[in-house]
């Protein structure tokens, strides 16, 4: 029951999903639609579970006085305040004027954007310290990167605008993107598609069981 029943459920549900792609009859489409609605709701519960897990782990860390525990108080306090306000404010919690919307606009949004903005600095640092051209292949990679970087922005046109059009940086950049880059990306797409199809079938047929992690 503990392992066999979930494997059976996965197989039946998965086969139904694949069948619904080919069979438009309501005897297939209605149960398939219901199962998809189930998945939507269960995944949403999963996010609530994830939040509860964050609360549990950090509360434990505070009680054990792990390194950095004062910051975890900030984490838990902000989590609880956000949840309580959001639940109390109801369906309109993201409407203008709501405290939850303020939290989203002035705390969540700027901090998330800034976290990603840090990457610009690290990419420059990594370009200097780690990007090493030691082989012919790496040379091809570097040349393509340099042409695309400069050709995609206005400065590429400025630097090579005086040359004949076929050898201007933006033209070469366009050719690289539409021909050799396109070919390699398509090969990766096709290969990945075959891999996903194979893995999907392995999961549905119960050959791949890693998602049933843990002991019986």
């Amino acid at each position: 029951m503990k392992r066999e029943f979930p494997l059976f459920v996965t197989a039946v549900v998965g086969i139904f999903m694949i069948l619904s792609f080919f069979v438009p009859h309501h005897s297939v489409s209605v149960p398939a639609d219901f199962l998809q609605q189930c998945a939507i709701v269960v995944v949403a519960f999963g996010y609530v579970l994830g939040g509860a897990n964050v609360l549990k782990l950090n509360t434990l860390a505070i009680s054990k006085r792990e390194p950095g525990w004062p910051y975890k108080i900030v984490l838990i306090a902000s989590l609880l305040v956000t949840v309580v306000l959001g639940v109390l404010e109801g369906r309109q919690f993201l409407d203008q004027g709501m405290k939850s919307k303020w939290i989203y606009d002035q705390l969540y949004s700027p901090m998330q954007a800034t976290m990603f903005a840090l990457l610009a600095f690290y990419i420059a640092s990594a370009a200097f310290r780690a990007f090493r051209i030691r082989t012919a292949e790496a040379g091809f990679l570097a040349v393509a990167a340099l042409i695309v970087m400069l050709g995609r922005v206005p400065v590429g046109q400025l630097l090579t605008g005086w040359l004949p059009e076929p050898i201007q940086l933006p033209t070469i950049q366009d050719w690289i993107m539409e021909t050799p880059q396109n070919a390699s990306k398509r090969a990766i797409l096709i290969g990945a598609a075959l891999g996903v199809m194979a893995t999907g079938l392995r999961v549905i047929l119960g050959i791949e069981r890693s998602y049933l992690s843990g002991e019986d």
């Binding site: 503990k2 999903m17 949403a44 956000t82 705390l107 901090m111 954007a113 070919a183 598609a193």
Partner: protein, 226 residues
């Protein structure tokens, strides 16, 4: 310079600077902002999924079904019509609650039933999606004439086809890459490297854009410059 008097913008700007301070070195301001962000994010995701999925997609239809109503005009607590499942929405509710059994060691295995439904649905959807959208359509798109009537585009078509085939052959691991296969896969490597280099160039553009966005916020919204 026209410094804003809006306290909210000041809060956003100061938190932005707290995170940027990490570039100098790790410090309490950054740690504070980081933990605040994690807490707010986790809380926001809980509330968002509650009000946008659990309530409208499960709770509301269930409450309506207890009154004998649903999406269609037909009366009754039970329905099996496209988009109208009434009392059957108890099933995803129960499956969702079963996920929480993971917190209780002895009955944690029951959460696998919920996972089984999720895995089954997405395995099926992704298999057909990748098969149609990424495999069939892409192979179809590759079957193009090598001679187009014009020299330039014909050369491009030949280069494209050679690049595609040799790149695909690089990923064929059922045979050792020697002889003709070795030559083809080596050529494929060069095409793949060009692809990765182009990807690197676009990645640089993406990351720099994010920095530009934050600086535009600090300059225009906070400091009132430009």
């Amino acid at each position: 310079m026209n410094l804003t008097t809006d306290l909210s913008i000041w809060v956003a700007a100061l938190l932005t600077l707290c995170i940027f301070s990490f570039l100098y070195k790790d410090n309490p301001f950054y740690k504070f902002a980081e933990h605040l962000f994690v807490g707010v994010s986790a809380g926001y995701y809980i509330v968002l999924n509650f009000w946008t999925v659990i309530v409208p997609n499960m709770w509301d239809p269930l409450m309506k079904s207890f009154g004998g109503h649903g999406v269609s005009d037909r009366a009754g607590m039970v329905a099996v019509e496209l988009g109208d499942y009434r009392l059957f929405m108890l099933i995803p509710g129960l499956l969702g609650l079963l996920l929480f059994t993971r917190f209780f060691g002895k009955i944690g295995w029951m959460s696998r039933w919920s996972l089984a439904v999720i895995i089954g649905v997405y395995a099926g959807i992704k298999t057909t999606g990748f098969a149609q959208g990424d495999f069939v359509a892409q192979v179809q798109g590759s079957l193009q004439p090598l001679w187009t009537g014009e020299l330039g585009s014909s050369i491009n078509a030949i280069v494209f086809t050679v690049g595609l085939l040799t790149s695909l052959l690089f990923f064929f691991y059922s045979r050792e890459h020697t002889g003709a296969l070795g030559v083809a896969s080596r050529l494929g490597v060069f095409f793949l490297m060009v692809g990765f280099g182009a990807g690197y160039g676009y990645t640089v553009m993406s990351r720099v854009s994010l920095l530009i966005g934050r600086l535009q916020f600090l300059l225009q919204d906070w400091l009132g410059i430009g």
